[in-house]
Amino acid sequence: MKCDLVVVGGGPGGSMAAKTAAAAGLDVVMLEKRQEIGDPVRCAEGVSKRSLCKMVKLEPEWISSEVKGARLYAPDGKSIVMSEDKSGGEVGYVLERKVFDRGLAMLAAQAGARIMVKTRALSLLKKDGSICGVSAMRIGEPLQIEAPLVIGADGVESKVGRWAGIDTTLKLDDIESCAQFLVQDASIDDDYTEFFLGNSIAPSGYAWSFPKGEKLANIGLGMQGSRSKPGEAVRLLRQFMKSRFPNGRVVEMVVGGDPCSGPIDSAIADGVMLVGDAAHQTDPLTGGGILNAMQAGAIAGEVAAKAISEGDVSRKGLQEYETRWRADIGKTIARSFQLKEFFVKLTDKDINQLIGSLAKEDISKMDLGAMLRILFRLNPKLLWSLKSLII
């Protein structure tokens, strides 16, 4: 079969790319290797309300709950509260990804994209050195899809980039090993997302509780890959549950790897663009990746339409995607990476000092930047190396 664009991967990034490109008139095929889109989930499901509303018209069934803000716990148990619209993007709605991902795929389908589930990309087709499509396996049968352009939205386990010569292999420092339970517990705060810091809770990461309404929450943690050992994330999560939610009832288990490498050197190659986790577009500080993937997907979809209509799908023809995603989400990702590189080295004593120093400040109306400036004023010695990022 033939088309203009193959999108590999049916997550939020892939669906936005397929939807945007199809709406602009391209003949789009989106491949999803699983037999169901959106399941199993690998995500804590938190997103900023404002940013999400800018991108798509929301359906009420996509959203599990709306939160008022975020509470951050130091290792010594002291906490601070940040308001919903200021806490740096990843708080606001807690989604129901199984429904949300399928909803976005349906938007892509409505825009005209063809969607193939249980269809796995095996390699890129090449002719005279140029990419000319995707070799796939569809429900166990081989399928060749000829297309001049491929968008790799194939997640943390991305192969499209590597096939096209972009090394997307994650170093253990640049990936968080994560585990999460969906928990029912009377002690869950339905109104606030909660973040628990501490090297004995989640080494160079954090634990979280993202409420899904009616005393149900995604309770999980992510730890830096280089500090992990086999099975450590699940072991630490069980330990955390025991100390913090001892009566919690687990109704679902989720695990995953979350890229936190900062912006990759290149998200394009001749005939290929990478989107979302495949392009390491997750925020290295929060681990949040849904909105960045959607934003990058939308940009890639637009650039795809332009490149196809102008007949130039070379690296040069796709440069606009590279420039635009870096100017859009790339700046924050780069800054978050530098902050992450600093914060992963902090001891529990340092974290206690930082969070403790905010006890007398009214930070409820501050955004992350303003909070960092206050932190810097109160802890200049500890945060001196971040001076250029904060001021």
């Binding site: 290797k33 699983r34 037999q35 199993p40 690998r42 249980k118 796995r120 997640g155 943390v156 386990e157 991305s158 192969k159 590597r162 997307t168 292999t169 994650l170 170093k171 253990l172 990936i175 090993s177 994560c178 585990a179 890959g225 992990s228 050992k229 086999p230 099975g231 450590e232 994330a233 699940v234 288990m253 989720v254 695990v255 995953g256 790897g257 890229p259």
Partner: protein, 56 residues
């Protein structure tokens, strides 16, 4: 050799993302290991559930 405990594996794909030789492939719930595997053990280290093990 690298062994996959399929009773433990939650098929998240973190191992695939860190594999330096592209030797792993996640096919829905099934993790495939190819001959490219150099038994470096990075995948075992990152695995949140401890489903991977390099055995002598």
């Amino acid at each position: 050799m690298l062994t996959v405990n399929r009773y433990k594996c939650c098929y998240c794909g973190a191992c695939v993302g860190v594999c330096p030789t592209c030797a792993l492939e996640l096919v829905e719930t099934w993790l495939e290991v190819s001959a490219e595997c150099k038994e470096c053990g990075l995948c075992a280290k990152i695995c949140p559930v401890g489903a991977l093990e390099v055995r002598a």
